[in-house]
Amino acid sequence: MTKNDPILCVKNLRTELALSSGAIEVVRGVSFSVNKGETLGIVGESGSGKSMTALSIMRVLPRPIGRIAGGSIRLDGRDLVQLTESEMTRIRGREIGMILQDPHTSLNPVYTIGNQVIEALQINQQRGGLLEKAISLLKKVNVADAARRVHAFPHQMSGGMKQRVVGAISIAGAPKVIIADEPTTALDVTIQLQYLELLEQIQQETGTAIVFITHDLGIVARLCHRLVVMYAGRIVEEGTVDDVFNAPSHPYTVALLNSVPHVDRKVDRLYAIKGNPPALHEIGTGCSFAPRCPLADTRCKTVSPPTVPGKNHGQGHFAACWKTGEMA
């Protein structure tokens, strides 16, 4: 795959939710790009804005409270933010697919698997022999006994199988980008690995780019080429998996890496980052991580940090931090 050939380019994205207490910004100026055939990981805790970023790209924010307040999302050069709703409907499923988190709730319980896969095929202008096409699509995502399962209802299948069906739906239109929002979180560990292998297989066959949203750094190391780390609606670090794992350049990334338990290291107590992520309406002017950061000083708490090159000056490795230079 050609490197540095961006297919999806998000620039300064700002997303707001209008709550009864007032509008809060849940995505606060996020920029990143995904190259053709690349897998980008978006990592962060719950509430860091990673799912909201995904929903913004798909333009399916919760109605009627969610809205994109600014920035651009360029898919193959077209700015999705500027499209009308009906233009966007034609983009969804055909140019960007999405896999949701919980397979137990993301398939419609009252329609058969076949019905839902065929619907995806129809949306992508497939005509004739739809049942056969649906079966072969299910085979492609390794659904065993696809010819029979195509007539099954979601409640008759296991979580892993359902998530494969969701995968089949997402690739029905051979999209250029697939956004996977924690697709393995609800699956058993053994099934998780199979599913990741399936995603890799799909990527090799179709050359699609994948945006993989997760809080699991192990999966990122296993699957992704590059990653961005999000905290409180912002990207705090970005780089290749090697650079970020070997030379984490933001104290939050360091803390995240420390909180991953290792099988080979026996510890009395697992490491946890002190405190909680800030509520988004109480973010001050400085770095949002400052209240929990061991390195933070007065400047960190009052002035928004600059984006600086990562510690080892790797290509495309950046952190938004005042203290990167001082980190050991």
Binding site: M58, V60, P62, R63, P64, E85, S86, T89, R90, I91, R92, G93, R94, G97, M98, L100, Q101, D102, T105, S106, L107, N108, P109, V110, E119, A120, I123, N124, F153, H155, V166, I169, S170, A172, G173
Partner: protein, 306 residues
């Protein structure tokens, strides 16, 4: 699916049996039928003769079985108030009027409430939602007899579009049907709206959107069928209460239906007719609920397999 249908039908028959038991016991609880049948100065011979003729001297369970047997053949005895007619005939005469009016009211309720409820959910917190809320609020707070009179005054008396009252064709039915339906429209709209709101938040709706399904199809194919369980549940109550006739509306519009009949029969202590009416109503309710069960199974595959 067949086992499901069989089970539900069996339940309905058992319920019907219990209802006949209740109807039978009630008629015995409310006093000796002889008091209603015979004049105050009846001779002991007369009393004994009538008692034997009606089988009132036999054990109570024999009386019940006889009642069941006769009921199964449509024989509920002779009406006491309408001389020369059997109770079944009296009810049978009134039934078409009630079914016509109730059927029309049912149709109006469904045709108005379902789209209104769905749209109110889709356009939540907009003007359309507000209009639906006002319609629902009016429907649930205006008494039916008052609404009926106002409709009659505006559309029959002032505008002269419809006849004021009486039995007749479609033009006679519209005003009473609207008056009857309005309350139900209110309930059904609110139920549909809240069910739709819940479903529209579901993950499978999100998946339908991200896979590129057009919004109209998201609403009607993916959301509505799941939300429909709630209004369908209410359909049992709705059909039951509309088809058994409304005493109030039938009185206001002078509509010769079973609601009016039931009241008149009760006032006249015409027990055979009361029993027949109650049983007819029970059967209608049971049928409506059987239809609801079947609709459930058609809507949701998970119910079919239980």
């Amino acid at each position: 699916m067949l086992t499901f249908l069989f089970k539900r039908t069996l339940y309905a028959l058992i319920s019907l049996l219990v209802i006949t038991l209740i109807v039978f016991s009630l008629s015995h609880l409310s006093g000796n039928p002889l008091d209603a049948l015979l004049p105050d100065d009846a001779t002991p011979q007369q009393i004994e003769q009538v008692t034997r003729h009606l089988g009132l001297d036999r054990p109570i369970w024999v009386q019940y079985l006889t009642f069941l047997q006769n009921a199964a053949m449509g024989d509920f005895g002779d009406s006491l108030k309408w001389k020369g007619q059997t109770a079944a005939e009296v009810v049978w005469e009134r039934l078409p009027a009630t079914l016509q009016l109730g059927g029309l009211a049912l149709l109006i309720s469904i045709v108005v409430a379902l789209p209104l409820g769905v749209m109110a959910a889709v356009y939540k917190n907009t003007a359309l939602d507000a209009v639906a809320t006002v319609i629902a609020l009016l429907g649930q707070s205006l008494p039916a007899f008052w609404l009926g009179l106002v409709l009659m005054w505006i559309f029959a008396v002032m505008l002269g579009w419809f006849p004021t009252s009486g039995y007749g064709g479609l033009s006679h039915m519209i005003l009473p049907a609207v008056a009857m339906a309005w309350f139900q429209v209110a309930a059904l709209t609110r139920l549909t709206r809240s069910a739709m709101l819940e479903v529209l938040d579901a993950e499978y709706i999100k998946l339908a959107r991200v896979k590129g399904v057009r919004e109209r199809r998201v609403v009607w194919k993916h959301a509505f069928r799941n939300a429909a369980i709630v209004p369908v549940t209410y359909f049992g109550v709705l059909a039951g209460s509309l088809l058994t006739g409304s005493v109030v509306i039938e009185t206001v519009f002078n509509w010769p239906g079973t609601g009016w009949l039931a009241i008149t029969a009760i006032q006249g202590r015409d027990f055979p007719v009361v029993q027949t009416v109650v049983l007819f109503f029970a059967v209608l309710f049971l049928l409506a609920n059987l239809i609801v069960d079947i609709l459930y199974a058609l809507i949701d595959p998970r119910i079919r397999n239980t």
